[in-house]
């Protein structure tokens, strides 16, 4: 029997439909789980937390959602080794819940995706992210080739990784830095980073490697029609580009 994946809808989530569609396109048995159905969450084998503004990111991005009843099940599941895949707002929630980098107690975060540098404003910009760990280090990236480069859209106001120096050191040395921002040719420098993120971080994983929190959206550059000049001459309704990470997630469920 294939793994059942719950795509969580918190009040304020806004990216559930495209996330679900892409999961279906890569063969995942996924369904939307609305906050009124929170009690059913323990029945799922893995959780995807899509983008949006859960509780409108009031106080801080992800802060209130981290205490939502839905998140109880996510934390419990993650501790049992279930896969948790947080995208953008989902990544912010996962950090606020303390699941990633997971170096402190639950709900006592040791890092945050916080207001963008330099002006604190929302940024919508096409980016690439490069796999910065051994693919096997994180279950969700395990099927990706080493150094994979994935296109995505950064679309967030609070996506800059920040933490104390000690915690940043821990993130770097503990293999938590899953993806970094990169140029289209794979090279890495400050200009490739859209938000001033520490370590150029685009995604983090936990120690066990079953939770991935990624700020940019691979699911928004995931079908041919999302990049018509690149996809010219191919089936534009077929997934391509950012789908690679979702394919790897799908393989990890098997």
């Amino acid at each position: 029997m294939s793994a059942k994946v719950g795509v969580l809808i918190y009040p304020g989530t806004n990216s559930e439909d495209e996330t679900l569609k892409l999961l279906h396109d890569v063969g995942v048995d996924a369904r939307l789980v609305h906050w009124s159905e929170a009690a059913t969450l323990p029945n799922y084998d893995a959780y995807v937390l899509p983008g949006g503004f859960a509780h409108e990111d009031r106080i801080r991005a992800g802060a209130i959602a981290a205490h939502d009843r839905m998140t109880d099940s996510v934390i419990e599941g993650a501790q049992k080794g279930k896969l948790v895949f947080g995208l953008c707002n989902g990544a912010q929630i996962v950090l606020e819940a303390g699941l990633v980098p997971g170096t402190g107690p639950v709900r006592r975060p040791t890092a945050a995706f916080t207001r963008n540098s330099p002006n604190g404003k929302f940024i919508c910009r096409h980016v690439h992210v490069r796999l910065a760990i051994d693919p096997q280090r994180c279950a969700i990236t395990a099927a990706l080739p080493k150094d994979s480069l994935i296109p995505a859209w950064a679309a967030h106001g609070e996506g800059r990784l920040a933490a104390t120096d000690a915690h940043l050191k821990e993130i770097a040395s503990g293999g938590h830095l899953a993806f970094v921002y990169a140029h289209a040719d794979g090279s890495v420098d400050d200009r490739a980073v859209p938000n001033g993120s520490a370590l150029g971080a685009a995604a983090l994983t936990n120690r066990e490697g079953n939770v991935l929190a990624i700020m940019p959206h691979p699911e928004r550059d995931a079908w041919g029609f999302n990049h018509p000049d690149r996809a010219r001459g191919t089936d534009m309704l077929a997934p391509s580009g950012g789908v690679a990470l979702f394919e790897s997630f799908a393989k990890a469920l098997k």
């Binding site: 009040p11 304020g12 906050w35 949006g52 029609f225």
Partner: protein, 770 residues
């Protein structure tokens, strides 16, 4: 709900009968009523008594310019509004045009266009945000999924970092971003102009777009047979925040008014809207499954009264509303405020009593509105009545009881206007100066001009890709393109246009240009234009010269739309855009065009594709249009010459270009706009740069092709000159040069580095929106 019975005389009247003109005027002014004395007398005559205070405010809202279109409606009726693509024309909250068919299902695009100019001048963040919120409701209430927004903006001079105009220009963008991003609707098109004539009146127009299966449209009317059905109010708890909103928009702005109007600040809550939208989608699903016809309408100016009166009268019914059943967030709100206040984030359903409990359950339990915002909920506030009366009661008191058709019926102000002179006197010496050889730095100045330079620093604050449907995001092409119906190849394009530099010269021709430009931008991405929508932003209709501009502009819109065969399906009018000193904005007819692509695989982008490919200029009937051009401004030449558009040529050229596109001959295309043809060519090289491709171009100026002309038309890139030129008998296309592989632009003997040009083009707004 019990049928009503009058138990006490109507209370708290506004005295009109037997009062002098002067007495009525000062009483109205003291009450903050914008109704004229003759209008108040007409109401009292009709009622046969003095209106109650609630009635007076109700008519004040309903008969305001904002709600009644009393000085524009009779002109707007001359716009073409029919055609094979029209599914729902003007008259409801939004229009619907046919997008295409997929597997036997017909899909439509729901489109609405609105302004929030006056509120944005006072509280720019909240004003702009609620502008997005309001127009999104108009699309939602047709039963549609909201899939995109676009935002034409006009700001004052922003060069001074300390200026009020800079504060407005940045806060408006912050407000649009905060709202649109949170509700998860991508912003895919828009434009912005900066001009001193907008210093005291910014323009914040918003277009919202939805998709719908054409068999599932919900109308803004009480359905046939709905007598006795429940009227359900959904959304935010009513407060005093928007009271006077409608009258507010009808009053001229000055600094003191702004302070006095603070009670009219409307508070946006995009979080609540996000949840209401998704809860409403669930209700749509429920109604569909159970084959129930319902009515749905958003609350705008006029609040509960305006919405429920219009939805019931549209169905040929009346209404009885119990104000005591309205959820309020403040104690002891006066009945008039509950009835008419413009609190945001509210909608009204008309549903059969048998399904009411399920509708309430969806909003209140499943989507937990009361936990999302203080006092938010869905609740029954009244019922549809057979008697065509509009009745409101509180406790045992009837506070309003009027003929519903009199309240919502058409009213008309005949205001004087004159025929404006056409601006077609050529000024040969000025034109010669424009056409002379210019030094190389003129191109750099044009690219750095405030109306030409990159808009990215502004729109990068907007989420342009949420929903994962975006094909061409903002800035990628002349029109934004999305694939709105998931899993189908259908594509939808949207563009906006409206050049205030032209508006200053000739309102009629500015309107014609707005139509032509919007249509050309949609054609440039390979789409077929299927519908237009307009927002008419003008000054004071009571001043003959300003009103004459409105009348002329409507005429120009009609001429352009008829000639190009694209109907108007919705629109909005914003008047009184003048400062206290009497200076009005330039005539600002702003147009959006919707386009359809049967298959998004055929979308055309502006990015150059191949070194050695040929470049052509395809004219669209409006060339040699130098009055109001960026070039004229850069050279400091005053020229009030905006020649007529040859719409026969335009229509034929557009048809021929689309045929060339269908034949697969066009590799890249971009409409010529601000800054002229060479600026367009440079931006096609920039677009290729975004794809990681370094291209340049070599072009030749000639008698037939002036590189700095702003006369519309297109630059196209073709792989095969031979194949393309077989279209030449129909497409008047001038071969102007070729794409090169070296990131240089060569115009005759002048050479430019594309990277340097890109730097000049990118810099100006980056400082403003830093």
């Amino acid at each position: 709900m019990q049928p009503y019975r009058r138990t006490r005389p109507l209370p708290k009247n506004f005295e009109v009968i037997a009062k002098s003109e002067h007495e009525i005027r000062s009483a109205a002014s003291a009450a903050g009523l914008a109704l004229r004395v003759d209008e108040l007398r007409r109401i009292a005559d009709h009622l046969g008594r003095n209106p109650t205070l609630v009635e007076a405010y109700a008519f004040d809202a309903q008969w305001s310019e904002h709600c009644s279109y009393k000085s524009s409606r009779h002109h707007l009726k001359n716009l073409p509004t029919t055609g094979p693509t029209v599914v729902v024309g003007p008259g409801e909250d939004a229009g619907i045009v046919h997008l295409g068919e997929w597997k036997g299902e017909r899909y439509g695009v729901v489109v609405a266009h609105e302004s929030h100019n006056h509120p944005s001048q006072v509280v720019p963040f909240e004003g702009a945000a609620t502008g997005v919120g309001g127009i999104v409701r108009d699309v939602l209430c047709m039963g549609a999924q909201v899939v995109a927004i676009a935002d034409p903006l006009r700001f004052g001079r922003v060069e001074d970092a300390d200026s009020h105009q800079r504060y407005i220009a940045t806060s408006v963008v912050d407000g649009i971003a905060a709202y649109g991003n949170a509700i998860g609707v991508p912003n895919i098109a828009g434009d912005v102009y900066f001009d001193g004539q907008f210093d005291n009146n910014c323009l914040v127009n918003v277009v919202a777009l939805g998709v719908i299966n054409e068999s599932e449209i919900i109308h803004s009317a009480a359905p046939p047979g709905s007598e006795g059905w429940d009227i359900v109010l959904v959304g935010k708890a009513t407060d005093a925040s928007g009271f006077g909103g409608a009258a507010f928009s009808s009053l001229a702005l000055d600094a003191q008014d702004a302070e006095a109007n603070k009670s009219a600040v409307q508070v946006p809550d995009p979080f609540l809207k996000n949840v209401i939208m998704r809860a409403s989608y669930r209700v749509f699903e429920y109604l569909r499954e159970h084959k129930i016809t319902a009515g749905f309408k958003d609350l705008g100016a006029g609040g509960i009264m305006g919405c429920t009166a219009e939805i019931c009268s549209s169905g040929g019914y009346g209404a009885v509303i119990d104000l005591d059943d309205v959820s309020t967030s403040q104690e002891n709100l006066p009945p008039a405020v509950i009835a008419i206040g413009e609190t945001q984030e509210r909608l009204t359903w008309i549903v059969p009593p048998g399904v009411t409990s399920e509708i309430l359950r969806i909003y209140n339990q499943e989507f937990s509105l009361p936990q999302i915002a203080r006092g938010a909920c869905a609740t029954v506030i009244g019922c549809v009545s057979k008697a065509k009366r509009y009745v409101m009661r509180t406790g045992d008191e009837i506070v309003m009881d009027v003929d519903i058709d009199f309240l919502t019926g058409t009213i008309r102000d005949e205001l004087p206007f004159k025929e404006l002179a056409a601006s077609d006197t050529p000024e040969p010496s000025a034109i010669d100066r424009l056409r002379a050889d210019h030094p190389a730095e003129v191109l750099t100045k044009i690219l750095a001009h405030r109306d030409v330079c990159s808009r990215a620093p502004l729109y990068k604050q907007y989420d342009g890709v949420v929903r994962g449907c975006t094909v061409l995001e903002r800035g990628a092409a002349d029109a934004g393109v999305i694939a709105p119906v998931r899993g189908t190849p259908l594509g939808m394009a949207v563009s906006v246009a409206g050049n205030p530099r032209y508006g200053k010269i000739d309102a009629r021709r500015a309107a014609e240009h707005a139509v032509l430009e919007a249509v050309c931008k949609v054609v440039a991405v390979g789409a077929t234009p299927i519908g237009l929508t307009d927002c008419l932003n003008f000054g004071n209709p009571k001043k003959e010269d300003q009103y004459s501009e409105l009348v002329a502009a409507v005429d120009g819109l009609g001429r352009g739309a008829r000639a190009l065969g694209v109907p108007f399906v919705s629109g909005n009018v914003s008047l009184y855009n003048e400062a206290a000193a009497g200076n009005a904005i330039p005539a600002s007819p702003i147009v959006a065009c919707i386009g359809a692509l049967a298959d998004i695989s055929n979308v055309i982008t502006p990015a150059f594709k191949g070194s050695g490919y040929a470049l052509y200029y395809v004219d669209a009937g409006a060339n040699h249009n130098n009055g109001g051009s960026v070039l004229a401004e850069v050279l400091g030449i005053q020229l009030s010459y905006l020649p007529p558009i040859d719409f026969d040529v335009a229509a034929a050229q557009l048809t021929a270009l689309r045929a060339a596109m269908d034949a697969g001959l066009i590799r890249a295309c971009k409409a010529v706009g601000n800054g002229g043809a060479v600026s367009t060519i440079v931006q096609m090289a920039f677009a290729a740069g975004k794809n990681g491709k370094r291209f340049g171009a070599r072009v030749e100026r000639s008698r037939k092709f002036s590189t700095l002309d702003e006369g519309g038309g297109f630059i196209v890139e073709v792989a095969s000159r031979e194949a393309f030129e077989s279209f030449i008998p129909t497409v008047a296309a001038h071969h102007i040069g070729a794409v090169t592989g070296d990131a240089l632009l060569i115009v005759n003997d002048q050479r430019f580095n594309i990277d340097d040009l890109h730097a000049s083009w990118s810099a100006p707004l980056a400082e403003v929106y830093a």
